[in-house]
């Protein structure tokens, strides 16, 4: 038998965790609210979408870019055996990310490492900020 007692007699850690709650970075707005969790950042040329999808190959994922949105779809399958504990999510998931900027669809790149999906969405030239020179008379 393998027993996970961590919730019962790991009091010091529980206290630690209680105090950790106060120090949680407040930039993390809604962890675990939907699956998979994503981080979205942007700079002047690209939008970056990172997602935590452990245990999946990039080929098992369906990444669809439509006009105005990015869809990440997949299916996490359960293993066979006698389950003592099952906490890892199983089943079909889908996440839609709205993009309010035009994207150069041909140059989108996606890669997967250590269970982290990284998608780079380059903005089209029209969407990039331009410097307008003012001519003084």
């Amino acid at each position: 038998m393998v027993i996970d007692f961590s919730a019962f007699y790991d009091l010091p850690r529980q206290i630690d965790r209680f105090f950790d709650e106060f120090w949680k970075p407040n930039v993390i707005s809604q962890r675990r609210a939907s699956y998979p969790p994503v981080n979205i950042t942007e700079d002047q040329t690209n939008i970056y979408v990172d997602a935590e999808i452990p245990g999946m190959d990039i080929d098992d994922l369906e990444i669809i870019l439509t006009e105005g949105s990015l869809v990440i779809k997949g299916n996490r399958k359960a293993d066979n055996g006698n389950y003592y504990r099952q906490e890892r999510p199983v089943g079909v998931f889908q996440r839609i990310i709205n993009l309010n900027v035009p994207i150069d669809a041909d140059k989108v790149k996606a890669k997967m490492k250590n269970g982290l999906l990284e998608i780079v969405l380059p903005k089209t030239d029209e969407a990039k900020p331009k410097k307008i020179s003012i001519e003084a008379e």
Partner: protein
């Protein structure tokens, strides 16, 4: 002094209990643990008597000069403890980290394996 420093380092990382599956199959127990962002070098597996502690640190690639639009996860520390019983063959525990999932295989000791008993008819 060093202890103080390490403590400071760990306390800045938010700590999470990773999602875990424990499955029993004929030859032993399998523990699957979601550890996205944890590389092999940042993973620690300790077995002390009956206590198995798994801890790992996840660091995500940092980008310079970006605006955060929406964040749902960040760097963190994963810690989880298990108690394993005597029927596990400690010498042959195997661990593999693949695609952000840690697979631990705890084989059952020879004496605890289910055995087929042959019936001899006369």
């Amino acid at each position: 002094m060093t202890q103080e420093v390490t403590k400071k380092e760990t306390s800045t990382l938010p700590r999470f209990a990773p999602n875990t599956d424990i499955i029993e199959r004929e030859n032993g127990f399998y523990i699957y643990m979601d550890l996205p962002g944890v590389s092999k070098d940042n993973l620690k597996i300790d077995l002390k008597e009956n206590e198995l502690q798994i801890s790992g640190k996840a660091f995500y690639p940092k980008r310079e000069n970006v605006n955060n639009i929406h964040l749902e996860f960040g760097d963190g520390e994963y810690v989880r403890n298990f108690t394993i019983s005597d029927i596990v063959d400690r010498q042959n525990i195997k661990a593999t980290l693949k695609k952000g999932v840690l697979e631990l295989f705890l084989p059952k000791a020879e004496k605890a394996r289910p055995r087929k008993i042959e019936i001899q008819a006369e």
